[in-house]
Symmetry: C2
Subunit: 432 residues, 2 copies
């Protein structure tokens, strides 16, 4: 990484603490990512993005801000990036994926708070995350108790606007969400000084749909018997989608997909034959939380799909591009976003339908239900999901784990037993 | 208690398990309540109600149901009892306050679930709570992640209607809550076959306001220097208010208040002079959760007020009785209920104002901030409350505890140190 110390200093960062953070990442990344065999060449771009995660991209943001473009940070896939792009502002995802930030998060939050929320708040108050430091506005939402109440504390440190996501999906809730999008548009207009109109919103919608399409294209390669890319590489790409420049991201991911297409034609797989195919469902994995994928893929499994906010929930379903008035476009946004089936909704049967569908589409052998600790909505929803999977005879294992590595050995043991069971199932199915 | 086994059997209860529950309560109550010295005579009624908690009151409910009156169970002070009473139905509070129900709750909920939610669900699925068994409908609400997702599971066992409480308090949220009250009215009309109109809703409003007034009257006695009643007795009365017949409750509580008036005139106190006066703020205490009050009042403190759902949040602010149309009455209900400052709202500055006001009104010396484990909203809100109290120099201690008694000794030690500090503060104030 080039010397960005002056830049970081200009962002009021705690340089000393930040140095400690920077020390850990490269070795960690080397071990988890660079050690993989037979990776696609196209991953080089994403390696570069990670190596410059606090460098080049921050420099870009800084330069954009000098040209009067605003940077807006968010924490959730319900925040409509289309609006941010329509106002010529830049959107960055801010969820914290490292326990480096927990001690600072615990200064203001209960210890019994979900690791993602604790890391996000800790990243801000420790002034060690240049993304937080580059934001002109943060956007929170009312998706869970932990986040909802954390925004109040975060607002003591930095400006934050909170979108009130409904908790049900009735017609009136859709109208409520349309209202929230309108309020958000006002807020963004005031911040940027740019009026949002049918034209620039249509462009925003097209751009973000394009990002969804390329992610969908990438995920299609995971449906093949021979997997041309590892699950953890796809996870990394999804994580980068939240903060990279969208146009460049689309271009580079398409390039990678061209390469994957050739791999499929040539029957190249990064896994051994008969590796159990795993669908992960549950809570998001914010960068650099690669723990579960790494354990799975170094214990004899392959992750073929993630029904998570850093997976299918982020890109499935496009916003209708045919709306010719702002009102229709806002309705289209509301429809698409309320089609995401987060456990924060009650009831949330759509998520079970999604899991069953994705299990088939990605030809999975078993499901890992992943929750971060203290994520009440996903942990409680496990029962309903398990009941539905049991009815269909689909094997599932629940893994609740935070960002620490203390339990990695135990998880590995549990998963190895699970994979063994899946392999036996497969053989039985073949001999039948 | 008379022999109610046939009645319980008719309610499909698990008699064997229920026997075990019945075994514990009397000794527990004796130890905590009946051992108190110098209790008001008027507490005899409430002793009787407790001794008949699964008996006489259930018999009353059963008889009412034979006369075609419906019984509706709820879990939260936001559910408008006025509507239930207007339809000539009976409202009972169902929150579980005993860890007896936890093993059954944990069969369907994560262990890391708040004790109140776990006990409530466990009480239903174990078929050991005759109140649950007597309900024609349950009413849930979206106040926290734990409850919101638990209703989905509860709905597998019994009919439940969920009211969507907003998470903010803007004008549009008030309209949203009015809508929810209208939907609730429809539901109750369909269930009971009784149409709700201006007249019966006005009666319902008057009745519930009257219950609020008598609780307010009771709480007024706690403002005196010489406290004529213990905190734990008042807690018990508040808990009984949730399930007793409202008219009888009002009458009996008024009788007790008449007695307390005389006690005040005669300077009778149930505490020694200079006992530190404690305001409790935080999560609700469902019957028979008397743990914290008992520890406080047997460690040298007196509880003078509870800023909780089983305290001031239940009875403060009346519904305007002047609405002459259904629409105006519904607006009045919405206004009153949205005046409750639960930590489920964001932001929730009103609660801090309430705490500061009650601290003064009840002439408290210190504050115990109580949260049940895994109550993210109240635990997270602690920081804001503590910051506000620190600014005013008001002493506060945070106690997070469940229904078990394992930590009672540790809490006692912490509280004794806290009270000692409060006494020193008092002496310093006097000598100044």
């Amino acid at each position: 990484m080039a010397d960005y110390r002056e830049m970081w200093k200009s962002l009021d960062m705690d340089l000393e603490k930040h140095d400690k953070l920077c020390e850990v990442l490269p070795q960690f990344y080397e071990e988890i990512y660079l050690s993989q065999k037979n990776r696609p060449q196209g991953m080089n771009y994403f390696n570069f993005v990670v190596s410059e995660v606090h460098g080049l991209r921050i420099k870009e943001l800084l330069e954009s801000r000098k040209n009067n473009r605003k940077v807006i940070g968010s924490f959730c896939v319900y925040v409509p990036d289309e609006v941010i792009n329509a106002a010529d502002a830049i959107s960055v995802g801010l969820c914290g994926g490292s326990d480096f930030w927990h001690p600072d998060g615990e200064k203001v939050l209960p210890r019994n708070t979900c690791p993602l929320v604790k890391a996000s708040i800790g990243a801000k108050i420790s002034a060690t995350c240049p993304y937080f430091q580059s934001c002109d506005l943060l956007v929170g939402e009312t998706t869970c108790d932990g986040k909802k109440k954390a925004w109040e504390i975060l607002s003591e440190y930095t400006p934050i606007h909170v979108m009130d996501l409904p908790q049900m999906k009735r017609e009136k809730d859709n109208l409520h969400w349309q209202d929230e999008i309108k309020i958000f548009i006002d807020k963004i207009e005031n911040l940027t000084g740019n009026k949002i109109n049918e034209e620039n919103l249509a462009e925003g919608i097209k751009l973000i749909n394009e990002k969804r399409r390329v992610l969908k294209r990438l995920y299609e390669f995971r449906k093949f018997d021979k997997l041309p890319i590892s699950g953890k590489d796809v996870l990394l790409i999804s994580q980068i989608a939240f903060y990279d420049d969208p146009k460049r991201f689309i271009e580079k991911t398409n390039e990678l997909c061209d390469e994957l297409e050739k791999r499929v034609q040539n029957g190249i797989s990064v896994f051994e034959e008969n590796t159990p195919r795993i669908l992960i469902t549950g809570t998001p994995m914010a960068i650099p939380n690669w723990k579960l994928h790494h354990i799975i893929e170094s214990s004899g499994g392959a992750v073929v799909c993630e029904e998570t906010c850093t997976g299918t929930r982020y890109f499935e379903n496009l916003v209708d591009e045919n709306g010719k008035t702002l009102a229709k476009q806002i309705k289209a946004l509301s429809d698409r976003y309320l089609n995401i089936n987060c456990a924060c909704f009650t009831p949330n049967k759509g998520r079970i339908d999604d899991i069953l569908r994705l299990y088939k589409e990605y030809n999975a052998d078993g499901i890992v239900y992943f929750t971060l600790p203290f994520c009440t909505t996903y942990a409680t929803e496990f029962k309903k999901v398990k009941d539905a999977l049991d009815k269909k005879g689909i094997p599932v294992i629940m893994i609740e784990t935070d960002y620490g590595l203390q339990d990695a050995g135990q998880i590995k043991t549990r998963l190895e037993a699970f994979f063994e069971m899946l392999e036996t199932n497969k053989k039985v199915a073949v001999t039948k």
